[in-house]
């Protein structure tokens, strides 16, 4: 009887989980409540679902993310990444160090510029010449991410064919593969409602496709498959796992991040105006050949989108697995003993609305000091974000600690480039010489399980 109740209860929990994840305002209120009343909250259902803690303060969140050897990410992700272990399903150990180093070395130094170019070309291809009526922003982003997978990662979707998802062979199939796999990653474990079954079938198809592509991939190409093959010493297994994992997570994060950030941007007229103005200036400067200045405007758009994303982050909560008995927030009033085997859920959403970390958090900040990753801040490609003063960033948009997203700069750059192209096209006058238009939300952001599915935006 307990097993039956557990099966039913899990689906109910999944329903509540998806419901709340799609309502950032509700989540913000809830996390704020917990932060004030129970900053480290222990679930009363420990006997039924295992010990679980919810951490909502910024400093505690940073502590959990920083202590990667006590609070592991590997056990959380290993069953959700169906394409095989890669960096984010491993914990700081030998294979993790090797594979992360290989992937980092494989990233070309000019990647930000390369990605800007890829996104610009793809946007020109997929954006209609004139946007009349409602336009699906999420679909636009998904298509651009597939173009990135093709041009930057080197995984051509031409031969992609599926018996699991209904899509045309090639580009569309790849788009849905990536989405279905990302849904599993952003779900709970075990993924309910048939999500896991679909993900498993998709992962089989996707993996065999990636394996076939990598096997015949020319090693002297200037794309990521060739780079990783070279860095890993032609280790096909590592290359396939890394490419499958990185493309899937990269595409998923950027699609959802841009959809949610743009959706939030529409809620703040002044921020939207600023983004429209920066985009227009970017286009003018680029046309005039002033590329450095144009890129600075593009970065401004990126910063606005990052701030908008704070209101509805891709990961409102991040799970970790406590591998040994330990103490959290030692020496404070909140000091809590966390038992081995407990799930610790940290809330970036709660942390980024913690007034002790982000001043006046409910205000959309145009000039916030967005220090996302002080570790990568010292590298020359620190293009998007603020110069680091080596303190931990207050924004927890791309994880933290050892598992800080190594592609965060690339993701922001892609988002900024997509935003500039989209805003310029949306705001183009309906008639030559007419007034510039302004985007509006034609329909709310909709989801396919945990992935963004459609955000209809019009212009008037």
């Amino acid at each position: 009887m307990l097993a039956w109740l557990k099966m039913i209860g899990w689906v109910y929990f999944a329903g509540i989980f998806f419901f709340s994840m799609r309502r950032p305002r509700f989540l913000r209120v809830a996390m704020g409540f917990f932060r004030r009343v129970w900053p480290i909250f222990r679930s009363p259902f420990a006997g039924f679902a295992g010990a679980t803690y919810l951490v909502t303060r910024a400093d505690d969140t940073q502590e959990v993310l920083r202590r990667a050897r006590d609070f592991l990410l590997g056990p959380v992700n290993e069953k959700k990444i169906l394409t095989g272990d890669f960096i984010i399903a491993l914990d700081p150990e030998r294979r993790y160090v090797t594979e992360k180093a290989n992937a980092s070395r494989a990233l070309p130094p000019n990647r930000i510029l390369a990605l800007e170019g890829i996104v610009d070309r793809a946007a020109q291809q997929w954006l209609p010449a004139q946007i009349d009526g409602a336009y699906n922003v999420t679909l636009y982003v998904e298509r651009i991410t597939v173009a990135i997978v093709r041009d930057f990662w080197g995984l051509s979707p031409d031969g992609a064919r599926s018996e699991v998802v209904v899509a045309e062979q090639g580009f569309e199939t790849m788009r849905l593969w990536l989405r279905k796999l990302a849904i599993v990653l952003a779900s709970m474990e075990p993924a309910p409602l048939g999500i896991r079954e679909v993900g498993l079938q998709c992962s089989e198809e996707f993996l065999s496709f990636v394996r076939a592509e990598c096997a015949v991939h020319p090693q002297n190409n200037q794309d990521m498959i060739a780079h990783i093959l070279r860095e890993s010493g032609s280790n096909m297994d590592e290359t396939v796992r890394s490419i499958a994992g990185l493309t899937m997570t990269g595409a998923a994060v950027v699609t959802k991040a841009f959809s949610q950030a743009f959706d939030q941007l529409l809620n703040f007229p002044e921020a939207l105006d600023a983004a429209i103005a920066a985009s227009a200036e970017e286009a003018q400067l680029r046309a005039a050949g002033n590329i450095p200045e144009a890129r600075r405007r593009r970065m401004d758009v990126g910063r606005l989108l990052v701030e908008a994303l704070r209101f509805n982050p891709v990961f409102p909560v991040i799970p970790r697995y406590c591998v040994r008995n330990t103490t959290l927030a030692r020496g404070t009033e909140r000091e809590t003993e966390i038992t081995a085997g407990a799930n610790v859920i940290v809330s970036p959403l709660g942390a980024m609305f913690d007034p002790e970390a982000v001043i006046d958090p409910e205000r959309f900040g145009f000039a916030r000091n967005i220090q996302l990753n002080p570790r990568t801040a010292t590298v020359p490609d620190w293009d998007y974000g603020s110069r680091s003063d080596a303190t931990p960033g207050d924004y927890v948009l791309f994880g933290g600690g050892e598992h800080w997203c190594m592609g965060e700069q690339m993701a922001i750059c892609e988002m900024a480039s997509m935003g500039v192209a989209l805003l310029n096209r949306l705001c183009e006058p309906a008639l030559r010489g007419g007034p510039r238009r302004r985007p509006y939300r034609a329909d709310q952001l909709r989801y396919d399980n945990s992935a963004a599915e459609s955000l209809l935006v019009g212009a008037r």
Binding site: I8, G74, E93, V164, V165, V198, C322
Partner: protein, 561 residues
């Protein structure tokens, strides 16, 4: 399960000569341990510890020779109908008859030139029951302890052979360690015997889960029995004997409960379906859609079918509650009344006890004790050798039936509570006792014998702090013990007088045999845990939570990733 043997025999001859003899034999044995020399008693395979010592004559009591042994229990021999202790006495005689003959020649009524059979018969006469017998590592036989130590050593070696720096997923490391073990050790790990059920299901640590484990099957059987009666009566009314025929009201109530559960399950399922339909994965081919639906429905049906037995048991228990509710209420109220009665009687006895103690024992002074420095030196000479120590204490029980009854009750309660509320940290959380026993002997004396780890000071120190309540409850009923308060209070908490009292009551441990002198309780439990954890991991194909692997690896600090 391990058992204790205590033989207490009056000495007829010169007890001091016997002491000298035992001391010589004991010294020879101790000297052998330094070189791991074998000893005749090694042949008694079930023997953990054994000691022979003399209790000096007291007022009106002769000197007593005590043989105490701790051994692995067996079932009664069906062929000879010999009890376990008798079988063990036979084994002891086979292992070292010359020593026993030599020693028991000093004792009363010992037959001259006794044959082995006569020695056996003689020893069996002097068996004495222990009022409290505590086992530190339940279920770990001598053979098992040796096997566990060997496996732990093999695991250590396997760990040393791992590539350094040792980093990698914990499951992979542990799998590699297991696969690196010699074949014989792996076989032993796979065939690890279970420990007693009260160790596997500790009520003290996991009360709710353990109570559920105890109650699950009895409740399920009762529930199904009643449900079958209800179904039989519904199917063929009047076919059952009257005494077990449920009333029509019970049938109706059972049907109502059944309908209630069905409606609740239906409503829950309806919402389950609604959520599922709302969140059903999109953009799937028809074949994939059918596959997902079939998989989920199969899961639903399979889980529902599996839930039927417990559902039936719950239904049966509810029917029983309806059927026998008068009797259940009666039982409940009777139990409550009985409990109240016990409480009232206990309160009265307690009050009387306090009054009597107040009148009879106005002032005890521990520091009035007189020290025999020579005896103390002899006692201390045999302490702190290798991992374990041996303590023997003889104290005089205070006069009066009340004290005697209190002591008996306390010993009885601790004897059973130590099992029912088994504490992995040991008796009174000491985790250093291999075996301990409290025995009431002739002359109103309390004999305490313990085989423990570490030194006298530390052991008694733990007794005075962590185990003060239990220790006080026992020894406040003896003379010269620091004054207690309401049985459990004060007493041993007064540490220095308590230690002085214990030292003063100590009897010299002249002859003491131990099978594994280098292993502490913590080491034995650690070795056993290593083996059991490996057995569990391998039985689950190393698919266990990461935290469990971490606990395993942290036993070998250098390998922790």
């Amino acid at each position: 399960m391990q058992r204790g043997l205590t033989l207490i025999t009056p000495i007829a001859g010169d007890w001091q000569a016997l002491m000298t003899l035992l001391r010589e034999r004991g010294d020879a044995l101790q000297a052998g341990w330094q070189n791991n020399a074998p000893y005749a008693l090694d042949a008694a395979e079930r023997l953990h510890f054994l000691s022979l010592f003399v209790i000096e004559p007291g007022a009106g009591c002769p000197a007593l020779l005590v043989l105490e042994g701790s051994f692995d229990g067996r079932c009664r021999n069906p062929l000879t109908d010999e009890s376990d202790r008798d079988q063990f006495i036979n084994e002891l005689v086979i292992a070292n008859a010359p020593l026993l003959r030599e020693v028991y020649a000093f004792c009363i009524n010992y037959p001259q030139n006794a044959t082995d059979q006569q020695v056996r018969e003689y020893l069996k006469i002097w068996k004495h029951d222990n009022q409290l017998f505590y086992v530190g590592c339940p279920g770990l036989t001598t053979g098992r302890i040796a096997e566990d130590a060997q496996i732990a050593a093999d695991v250590e070696a396997s760990v040393r052979n791992l590539n350094r720096p040792i980093m990698g997923r914990r499951a992979q490391i542990v799998r590699e360690i297991f696969q690196g073990l010699p074949r014989a050790s792996r076989d032993l790990v796979v065939n690890t015997p279970d420990r007693p059920f009260w160790v596997r299901h500790p009520l003290y640590e996991q009360p709710l889960q353990t109570l559920y484990w105890y109650a699950k099957w009895p409740l399920a059987i009762v529930g199904w029995a009643v449900l079958l009666l209800v179904l039989a009566e519904a199917w063929s009314p009047g076919s059952l004997p009257e005494c077990i025929t449920p009333a029509q009201s019970v049938l109706a109530a059972t049907w109502n409960w059944f309908a209630f559960f069905l409606v609740v399950a239906g409503v829950l399922t309806l919402f389950w379906l609604l959520i599922w339909c709302g969140e059903f994965p999109q953009y799937l081919t028809p074949r994939m859609t059918r596959y997902v639906i079939a998989t989920k429905l199969e899961e639903y049906v399979r889980t529902s079918i599996r839930a039927l037995p417990s559902f039936g048991a719950v239904l049966g228990l509810l029917a029983l509650a309806h059927w026998q509710w008068m009797r259940l209420w009666d039982f409940f109220f009777s139990a409550l009344a009985f409990l109240l009665l016990v409480l009232v009687v206990t309160a009265i006895v307690w009050y009387v006890r306090l009054l009597r103690i107040g009148l009879r024992e106005p002032a005890d002074r521990v520091f009035d004790l007189r020290w025999d420095t020579n005896r103390l030196a002899a006692v201390r000479e045999r302490e702190d050798r290798l991992a374990q120590s041996h303590i023997i204490s003889v104290t005089t029980i205070r006069l009066g039936v009340l004290r005697w009854v209190t002591l008996r009750c306390v010993l009885f309660a601790i004897h059973w509570l130590a099992r029912i509320l088994y504490n992995p940290l040991g008796l009174f959380s000491t985790q250093s006792i291999h075996f301990a026993r409290w025995t009431i002997v002739r002359g109103g004396r309390l004999l305490f014998i313990s085989n423990y780890d570490g030194g006298f000071g530390g052991y008694l120190g733990v007794f005075a702090t962590l185990g003060a309540a239990g220790v006080s409850a026992i020894w406040t009923n003896t003379e010269g013990f620091p004054r207690g308060f309401l049985l459990f209070g004060d007493g041993a908490r007064d540490e220095q007088p308590f230690k002085a009292r214990a030292r003063n009551s100590q009897v010299e441990s002249v002859f003491w045999y131990r099978r594994y002198p280098h292993l502490s309780v913590a080491a034995i439990e650690r070795n056993a845990a290593i083996r059991m954890e490996l057995a569990r991991f391998s039985s689950k194909a190393f698919q266990v939570p990461e935290a469990d692997f971490d606990v395993f690896l942290r036993r070998f600090a250098t390998t922790t990733p």
